[in-house]
Every structure is written in C-alpha cells, then in structure tokens.
Amino acid sequence: MPLLPLSRRSLLSGSAALLASTALPAHLRAQETPKKGGRLIVAADSEPRNLNPAMVASNGVFFVASKVVEPLAEASFDGADGLVPRLATSWEGSDDGLSVTFRLREGVTWHDGKPFTSADVAFSALNVWKPLQNLGRVVFKDLESVDTPDEHTAVFRFSKPTPFQLIRNALPPLTSVLPKHVYEQGEIADNPANTAPIGTGPFRFAEHKPGEYYRLERNASYWDKDLPLLDEIVYRVLPDRAAAAGALEAEEIHLAAFSAVPLADLARIAEVPGLKVVSRGYEDLTYQLVVEINHRRKELADRKVRQAIAHAIDRKFVVDTIFLGYATASTGPVPLNSKTFYTDEVPLYAFDPARADALLEEAGYPRGGDGKRFSLKLLPAPYFNETRQFGDYLRQALAVVGIDAEIVNNDAAAHQKAVYTDHAFDLAVAPPVFRVDPAISTTILVQSGLPDGVPFSNQGGYRNEAIDALIAKASETIDPEARIALYREFQKLVAEDLPLINVAEWGFVSVAHESVGNIANNPRWVVSNWADTWLGA
C-alpha cells in the first residue's frame, strides 16, 4: 500500500531505540520524560463518514473526532467528580436543579482562527445536542434555553428539575462544542464540516483518504501552550482484525485500540518484545453483554422462564472462555466498575441447570418426547466476535435445560431492523454501553413507551409500572444521594424481574508499542484528545 512512505522509515529509526529501551528495567523506562514531535500511527477498524461527535456520540466517531472537537470537560481518574476542565473551567448547578452555570475558557480559538465564545456553546446545546444527538435527546430533553450574559459564561436553563449529577456525568461524552459560525448556515446534517471537522482541539483535521487513512495535524495555537506533544496522528484503516496484530508486529502501526487485536491473540502478542497490552483507559465505556427478551412471547412473559434462563447461563464460563478473562460477570444492569451507582444487593442467579429445570416445570413447560420444552429464535448481534460466540454458547446452555434455540444470523443493518423495528426475535444478544450514569443509556433498555425503531432501547414489549415510575422519579431527583438510592432500587427491581439478563461486562484492550507514552491515563482515554500522548525515540 503506497501509504505514507515516511512511516516505515521513521518507525524503523524509532524501533532501534525501542529495542534498546526494552533492555532497560521497567522503572527506568517509566521515568523517561515526555518528548515532543513524531507521528503516531494507529489502527482504525471502522471508517465513520460522519465525524461530527456533537451529533453522533459514539465511540467510533470519538476515536478520531475527539482529538479535533473538544467537550466542556473530560473524564479523569483523580479529578473532582471524575472530571477535568476542557472548554469549561468550572460548572455549578443551582439548588432547584433548573439551571447550570458554566464558566468558559478564555483565549481559545477555533482551527479557522475565530474566537471561541459562549454563543458556540449555546448554539451546540440548543441546535445540536438536544434535537440531533443520539444521547443528548434523553439527557437534555428539558433544556429550554441557554443564557450568555458574557462571552465566557453560559447558563443552561431547564424546564423541569434536572439532576446536576447527571449533567456532570454527561459532560465528557455529550458536550462536544461545534463552531456556530460554521454551522449556522444551512442544514446541520449536511454541513461539510461533518466530514472534515473544525474544532478547538489539540489536533486539526488534515485529510481522509477513504479506505486508507485519516490524518490529523498538530494545532500550533492550542489553548494549552505546551500541548500537544505529537506532530501528527494517522489512523490507518485496517478492517481485518488479524491484520492489526500483524501490522503491530511488523512495526507499521504503534497502537491498536478497541480490541482490534483479537482476545485470543493477546497472550501471544504480550510476549512479543516491544509491545505492551493495556486494558486501562476504557473504564467509562463499559460494554455489557445482555440477553434481550421479547416479552410478547407467551413463554418469555413468564418471570419463572426468564429466571430459568438466567440460571442456565454459566457466567464464569462466559468470562473465562469467551472473553478469556478480559471481562467481569454481571449481577445487574449497572456494572461493577461504576463505584457511584453499583450495588450487589440484588437477587443473584447462580449457574444451576437443575434449578432452571425445576423453574421451567413449575412454569408449566414439561419436556416433550424429544426432551424439548419449546423452541425460540435467538438473534446474536453481529458487532463483536464475543456476541456471536455467546450466541453459540447460549444455544447450548438452553439446550441443556430443554429449550431449543434456533440461531438466526444477520448483518448489522438487518439485525437492528429485526430486533429494534420489526421485533422479529425471541431472544437477542446485545452489547449496550454503560456510560457512567444509568440515565444516559441504561434506563432506556427497560423503560416502556418508546417508539419502535430506537436502537439499544427496550423493544421487547416489556412494561413494568414500578420500574417506569422509578425511572421517572430518578430523572427529576436533584439530591445525588437520593438519586443514587433510587438507581440502587432500580437495579434490584431489574435483577428481580429480569426484563433482560445481564451476563457480563467488559472494557476493551489496547496493544501499543513501548515507545508510546501517556496512554490510558484517563477512564475514556481512547476517545479523549491525546494532547499529552507522546512517542519516545
């Protein structure tokens, strides 16, 4: 591939030093000081066309666009409330939950030279996040207006009390700020800046060669004068997962994120000198392995049958065999690593096929002559190897307790249509994402009354008034402690009634060359701005 003829040479010169550095003891290497310059080459497994993170808040878009377009605040391992300032320097919620005041950073300019002001924030919030963004539609649904008393203050006003805790948790993924002067003319969805984003971030968008690469360049006038450290970031498009491992070993790329190297290959690649396997940097993007249930099916509308299915699944086998240990068994709809919201005081479903058999008998589904109680259609989501493999496993686990599951494979588009629009499934395997706060993308998985066709939402026809009331109450509860208590209650109710079955939760794994410094230094590092990432020589 005639891609960037310099890359090979610069990498080779880097690799000689890299070999030398591996000879050093680890504690000496850790003390190396960050160095300026260099081109970081990373693997990209997908190639989103729309790179507007304010509209499409998804990890595939953030992976590239978060270096160009910045949010008001970024997640942090040690900052107050788990945040560090980016475009906002401080934020404060009113006691009644009806307003939030942001102080904005001064001296920030857009990549085209225009100054960044509160008008940009107001425009992004009212014209993009609230009406157009997949996640913002939920969180900012009651945002009424944004006041801009001066160029560096933005006051968000809500029509109903909105928890400040939720707004804070939503800052990193939901608040990418767009330049008003670029977007105010014409349709936002058709704006050319969606494919060549303009932001305030440490890197400018340079070019995209479809099928080959994206290239970002250092922004010399970044508001933090000492950053960024890298000169360039190149995302090399490598859709084949086996290719990423090969490219790392051949020193054609420095970093492969989002488990681009298959889990089964990690043990081998960890032994390759000069490469490191890093599983930090994904803490705030926890993926959950979930069995979605179509409650329109008579058998599945029975709680005992759902509990039987939960008892039939060996979570330890799933974690050890399918995820090769790079996952945690789930107890409910909030993952263990959410220290704020997680509770383990929920009904647990131990692996117990005998108990599952008994529950199915109780529910009135005896085994027929062929040992089968009833048949189901099982649709595993095709997005990850692990979701497909879990589908194969689930079929076997259900066969043990007498449920005959027939697997139906679809491509991504057909799967979304079958499950979320046509409801043509009995069981489905889905990988929803938990994003720090249950109200962002988790309660929607069990809440009733959603329109057909909303992906990653409750499309199984489940309706539980107690849970619906709890979700509604939590969405207006301002006091953080009371809110947390409500979400703990929510976890208990969900685990008890099983509108869906949470099986495991996982973060991704990155593989990088030893020469790449400051990786995984925040809980959503892969989709953060990489301003302090550097490349050792």
């Binding site: 043990a267 589908g391 194969d392």
Partner: protein, 275 residues
C-alpha cells in the same frame, strides 16, 4: 468394460476411496457422535492428540473437533448432492424444453441461460443467501441457482441431435403427445452426458457451501467445515489446527469427487470411441 477401465485407473480408485470414506463418515456420524456436535464437550482449545476422548481437540468454546468433522461431512455431502440434483433436474428440463420446442421458446430459454451464465455462480449464491436468509434450504437453492446452466446447455445440445432420429419420428406418427415424447423418449437418451457433469457440480457445491459458511452465511445451527474454518480464523496464530483440520477435509473431499468424475469421464469416453 467401463467399470474395468475405471478400476484400472489409480486416480479414479483413490477418488472413489475418498468419496466412500466421506459417505461412511456422513452415515455413521449420528451413531458415533449422537450428541449435538455444537455442544460443549470439554476444556476449550484442547490441542489434538492430547485427550483421547477428544482425539482432534476442541475449539474455542470446547466443542469436539472430530464430531464437527463427521457431522460437517454430512452437511457438505447433503448440500453437494441436493444442490447437484436440483441443478440437474432444473437444467435438463429447461434444456429439453428449449431443444425440443425450438423457435421462440428456445431463444427465450437460452437467453435466460446466458444471462445466468454471465453472473459468477458464487456471486449469485451470495446475493441469494443474503436476501433469503441463511438456512440449509436456501443454501442449496442458492448453489443450484448458479449451477443449472451447464446441464441445460448440454441437455439442449443432446436433444437437438436426438430429436431428428427415427424413433422420435415414429413416436410422433403413433400420436404421442409432444410433452410425452420429450420426457419419455428424448430426455432419457440425453441424460448420460448430463449426469457426467454431476460430480463437477457436487464438488463446486461443496466449495460454495464452505465459502458461504466461512463468510457467516451458512446455517448457524449446523456444523459445516467452512464454518469451522471461519471459527478457527480468530485463533489462527495460537491454534492453527482448528482451521487446518477442516481445511484438509475440504480439500480431500473436493479432490476425491473430482478424481471420480475424471475417472468416469475417461472410462466412458473410451467406450464411446470404441463403439
């Protein structure tokens, strides 16, 4: 005579041995491995020749590779034979109709055949399965869809010569219905060369089925060799046997079927030149 020639050719014998082994595997699979071959049988990723209850080891989920190989032979052979029969029945009917009716019907049918022949069979199968959804029946249909044109052309060519023979004229004079003449008098005489094509179609069908399964378009509720190879691809570097074992089975079966068909053609060709 033909049989003796066939038996004197070592290639044909080797082919026959492979094909019979394949048939035996397919027949005894449910007896030797009565459990679902997709069920979890042991520790995941057991290498071959370590645990004698699982001689060829297990895959990433702990499924028995040997059981998969046997049951996969069943799927491969079933798909190969079903697709070939469907293609030959459809092809010879179209060919007979075209050759016997001639005129406009012939033109229309042959242009349709041309149209199908211009599209690569695999592409046609891929498109058909992705629209109709993967299941054993659609896979068979999809393969037959690309394979019926060969038998149709050969049948038509045979029939063009047979229909001018005396016994056909005789049947016409006796007052037989043209459809009856076509199906009872002409078609049986045109069949042998068409049947000679069948083994080539079977081999092609086995390969197409494996490719579809490899791409995830096979029936996910059955073991197939292509599916096993695809499964093994994720661990190609650490457990290559998972892809290599079904790969070898696939190569051997296709080779076997080809050798048999070679042998048959060779033997019957000599007979023809002698007579």
């Amino acid at each position: 005579m033909t049989l003796r020639r066939f038996l004197h050719s070592p290639e044909a014998l080797a082919g026959a041995a492979i094909v019979s082994a394949l048939a035996v595997m397919a027949l005894v699979a449910p007896l030797l491995f009565p459990a679902d071959p997709l069920s979890i049988a042991g520790r995941p990723l057991t290498p071959p020749f370590q645990d004698w209850s699982l001689p060829l080891g297990t895959d990433r989920l702990g499924r028995d590779v040997l059981a998969g190989l046997f049951h996969g032979a069943r799927t491969s052979l079933a798909v190969g034979l079903a697709a070939a029969s469907a293609a030959i029945v459809a092809g010879s009917l179209v060919g007979t109709a075209a050759g016997f009716a001639s005129g406009l019907t012939d033109d229309v049918l042959m242009r349709i055949t041309d149209a199908f022949q211009t599209v690569p069979g695999f592409l046609l199968a891929l498109a058909f399965v992705s629209v109709a959804g993967p299941s054993l029946a659609t896979v068979v249909g999809a393969i037959a869809l690309g394979a019926w044109t060969g038998p149709a052309r050969i049948a038509r060519a045979e029939i063009l010569s047979i229909r001018e023979r005396d016994f056909v004229a005789g049947a016409r004079i006796v007052g037989m219905h043209p459809v009856e003449i076509a199906l009872r008098e002409v078609l049986p005489n045109a069949l042998p060369p068409v049947l000679a094509l069948s083994s080539v179609i079977v081999a092609g069908a086995i390969l197409i089925e494996a490719s579809l399964s490899f791409l995830g378009l096979g029936d996910p509720n059955r073991v197939t060799w292509g599916g096993m190879i695809a499964e093994g691809r994720a661990v190609l570097r650490s457990a290559p046997f998972l892809s290599i074992i079904p790969g070898i089975a696939l190569v051997l079966s296709v080779l076997g079927v080809y050798l048999v068909s070679e042998g048959v053609v060779e033997a019957s060709a000599t007979r023809r030149s002698l007579s």
